[in-house]
C-alpha cells in the first residue's frame, strides 16, 4: 500500500497554516502579477483549496472529523491539479510533505467510494481499454503505422523502448510528435522499439485521482513487460509518464532492469554527442514551460519511516534522517539546453520557472473532468509567456501541450505551443 493518510498525520498536524504554500518563495518573485503558484487557491480563493488547507482537511478526515461522502469536500479535493507547487514552496524552509497527503486524501476518499462520478468512466476505460481516454485499445498503435520501427507487440526484444503514452498515441494532433520522436531517434542511430497496440497507460491518471489499486496493476505490468522485453532504457515524451515512473514506480519494490529517460534528456545527450545535428535557423522568441511531472514531481519519493524526537523543546529530529525532495532534482536543464542548441533561437525565461513553475492546469484529472478550470490555469501561463514577449511556448508534455493549445484557441491568444521534439525536428 502506497498511500495511507495516517502516515502523514504528523506532517498534517505540523502545518503551521502559514500560507507560504500559496506563493513562490519571496526571493523568487519577480512581479505581483505572476506571484502566485497554486492554481486552486488563485482560482477559488478559499483557504481549503491551498496546500495548507488540504493538510487541515486531510487531518480532519484522518481523525474522523469529516464526512467522506460530503459533495463539497469532493469538489475541494479534486479542484487541484496535484501540481506539487505547494509542496516545493512549503519545503523552501520546512520538511513537511504536502503533495503526498493530497494524494493520500484522494485515496482515502476513493477507498470509501467517495470519488466523483466523472472519474468512473476514466477508471472503467483504464480497465477495459488500458487508457483513460475512452479510446479503443485496438487503435493504440495506429500512430506508428508506416513508420520504420520495430513493433515489439509482434515479437522480439529491444534495449531502447519508446513509450508514447496515451495522449500522444490517441490525440490526432499530438501523435505527430510520437512519430517525429521515433524518426529522430532512428536518424540518430538509436535502435528503438515500440510496444504498438500492446503499450498501456503508465497509470499516472489513476494514481493522481487516488485510484491506487488500479495504478498498481498498470505499474506492475509495465515493469514486468519492459523487463521481459529486455529494455535497458525506457524513453518517453510524456512528462506525466516520466514523473510517475521515476517518482512512484520504484516504491512498488519490483526490480526495474531499465533506466527511465525523458526524451528531452535523450535529445540533449544525442546533440552533445554530435549524433543529432541542428542546422536550420529558427528565428523565434520562445520560452519554456516546465511540466510539473518532468520538473519537481519527477524526483524519486522516499517515504520516511522512523522516530521523531523533539529537542530543545521545539526542534524535530528524525531518526533515521529524512530524504527531503524539494523539487530541486527535477529535469530542468536538458530541455533548456536543447532549446539553446537550436540555431537562431531567442530563448527567454518566464517568471515562475523550475521547481516554482506555474502548472499548465491539466494535471490531476482536471483537464478531463473540469476543463474550464484547466483552461483558466493555462490562460495564466500564456499571459506570463506573453509578458516576456514570447511568440511560442516550448514544452515537453502531451497534457501541457493539449491544454495550452486549447486555451490559446479558446481565448483567442496568439501563441504557438511546440513540443520540444517538434522544435528539434524543425531545426534539422
Amino acid at each position: 500500500m502506497l498511500l495511507d493518510l495516517n502516515d502523514y498525520r504528523n506532517d498534517m498536524k505540523r502545518c503551521a497554516r502559514c500560507s507560504i504554500c500559496k506563493w513562490p518563495p519571496l526571493a523568487q518573485m519577480k512581479s505581483w502579477r505572476f506571484s502566485q503558484n497554486c492554481p486552486a487557491i488563485s482560482r477559488f480563493n478559499f483557504h481549503a483549496y491551498s496546500g495548507g488547507g488540504r493538510m487541515a482537511l486531510g487531518l480532519a478526515l484522518a481523525e474522523g472529523k469529516l464526512d467522506e461522502a460530503d459533495e463539497e469536500l469532493s469538489n475541494i479535493v479534486y479542484r487541484c491539479t496535484a501540481c506539487g507547487a505547494c509542496d516545493s514552496s512549503c519545503k523552501y524552509n520546512s520538511e513537511l510533505e504536502v503533495l503526498w497527503p493530497i494524494y493520500a486524501t484522494r485515496a482515502r476518499l476513493v477507498g470509501a467510494g467517495c470519488f466523483r462520478e466523472e472519474h468512473g468512466p476514466i477508471i472503467e476505460s483504464l480497465r477495459r481499454e488500458d487508457n483513460p481516454l475512452m479510446k479503443s485499445k485496438s487503435e493504440r498503435g495506429r500512430w506508428a503505422e508506416g513508420l520504420d520501427v520495430k513493433d515489439l507487440s509482434k515479437g522480439g526484444q529491444a534495449e531502447v523502448i519508446y513509450h508514447a503514452g496515451c495522449l500522444y498515441s490517441f490525440d490526432p494532433e499530438l501523435s505527430k510528435v510520437a512519430r517525429e520522436t521515433v524518426t529522430l531517434l532512428r536518424s540518430a542511430g538509436v535502435e528503438v522499439g515500440i510496444r504498438g497496440a500492446q503499450e498501456s497507460c503508465c497509470g499516472s491518471m489513476a494514481f493522481q485521482l487516488g485510484f491506487q489499486g488500479e495504478f498498481i496493476k498498470f505499474a506492475e505490468s509495465n515493469i514486468d513487460d519492459w523487463n521481459a522485453l529486455g529494455a535497458r532504457k525506457v524513453v518517453t515524451s510524456c512528462a506525466c509518464g516520466f514523473g510517475i515512473m521515476k517518482a512512484v514506480y520504484p516504491l512498488l519494490g519490483k526490480k526495474m532492469k531499465f533506466e527511465v529517460v525523458h526524451i528531452s534528456q535523450y535529445l540533449d545527450e544525442l546533440i552533445r554527442e554530435g549524433k543529432l545535428q541542428l542546422s536550420k535557423k529558427i528565428p523565434l522568441r520562445v520560452t519554456y514551460h516546465d511540466p510539473c511531472n518532468l520538473g519537481r514531481k519527477s524526483e524519486e519519493y522516499v517515504p520516511w519511516k522512523g522516530t521523531e524526537k523533539k529537542v530543545l523543546g521545539q526542534l524535530i529530529v528524525r531518526e533515521p534522517e529524512k530524504t527531503v525532495h524539494r523539487g530541486w532534482e527535477g529535469v530542468y536543464d536538458p530541455p533548456r539546453d536543447v532549446i539553446r542548441a537550436v540555431p537562431g533561437i531567442n530563448f527567454v525565461e518566464m517568471e515562475r520557472i523550475r521547481e516554482y513553475a506555474w502548472c499548465c492546469g491539466a494535471g490531476g484529472g482536471v483537464k478531463t473532468t473540469m476543463d474550464d478550470f484547466a483552461l483558466w490555469t493555462a490562460g495564466e501561463r500564456i499571459a506570463e509567456a506573453q509578458s516576456v514577449g514570447a511568440e511560442a511556448i516550448v514544452t515537453a508534455c502531451s497534457w501541457c501541450e493539449r491544454n495550452l493549445r486549447d486555451a490559446a484557441a479558446a481565448q483567442g491568444k496568439k501563441m504557438q505551443v511546440l513540443d520540444i521534439v517538434e522544435l528539434v525536428k524543425q531545426a534539422r
Binding site: R108, G111, E118, P121, G210
Partner: protein, 262 residues
Amino acid sequence: MQVIVCLKQILDPEMPSGSFHLDPNRKRAVPPPGTPPVLSPFDENALEAALRLKDGQGAKVIAVSLGDKLARAVVKKPLSAGADELVLLEDPEWEDLDHFASARVLAAAIRKIGEFDLILTGRQAADWDAGLVGSALAEELGLGCVTLARKIEVVKDKVRVERVAPDGYEVVEALRPCVVTVDSELGELRQITMPGIFAAKKKPIQEWKPADLKLASPAPARCELVDLYLPKRETVCEIIGGESPEEAALKLADKLLEKCPA
C-alpha cells in the same frame, strides 16, 4: 414494460492481492485506500440485459441497491448507464445481511414499487459467490425463477431465456412476471459516458428505510459467519538429486511411495 434490476455494492474483486486484508475481530475485509467498492460484475450483466430490453422493445428500468454506506458514485452508475430510476435501501440495520434476509428486504421494496414485468439479478454477487439471492427473491415473491441467463427476450406474456449449460445453452420460457439471474456470458455493461452521467443527475432517486417498507424487525439471519481468514498456503520444497536422471527418478519414486503407500 417495467424491469427491476437488483445490484449489490461489493469490495472490488479485482483489487491487487497485496492490498487485501481482514479484520479478524469484526470478521470482515477491510476496504483498502485507493480501491473503491464496485457493483458486482454479474449484477452489471443483469443491468445490461435490462438496458438491451429497453433499447429493443422499450422498457422502464428501475435499479435497486441494498446495504449501508452505499457509495453514491458507485450505486448511481446504473442511472448513468441508462436506467430510469434508482431505489436505495440504505440503513445500518441492512449492513451485512445474509442472503435470505437480503431477499426479504428486496422483496418488500419490489412490492412497494408495485408494478413489474421482470426482475433481474446477477447470477451471484462476486463477494460471497453464493448465488442465492435471486432464487430466494423469487420464493419471497412467489414467482418463477430462471437462472444463468445469457440472453433474454420478452415474447408476449412470456420471457424466453437462453440459459447457460455446461455444454452450450438451453432455451427456457417462463411466464411474466418472473425473476431471471444473469450470467457474464450475456455481456459486459456498456461503457458509461460523460453525457450519460450528466443525464443521470436529473433522474429520480428514492431512498427507503425499514419503516418505509414496513419491516418492523430486522430480518432473521439464517447463515452465521463463524470465521473469516486468509487460507494459509505452505509450500515445502525438497530437491531430489541423483548422479543420473534414472537415479533421481528412482529416489523420487521411493519418496512418493514412502509418503503415500499403495
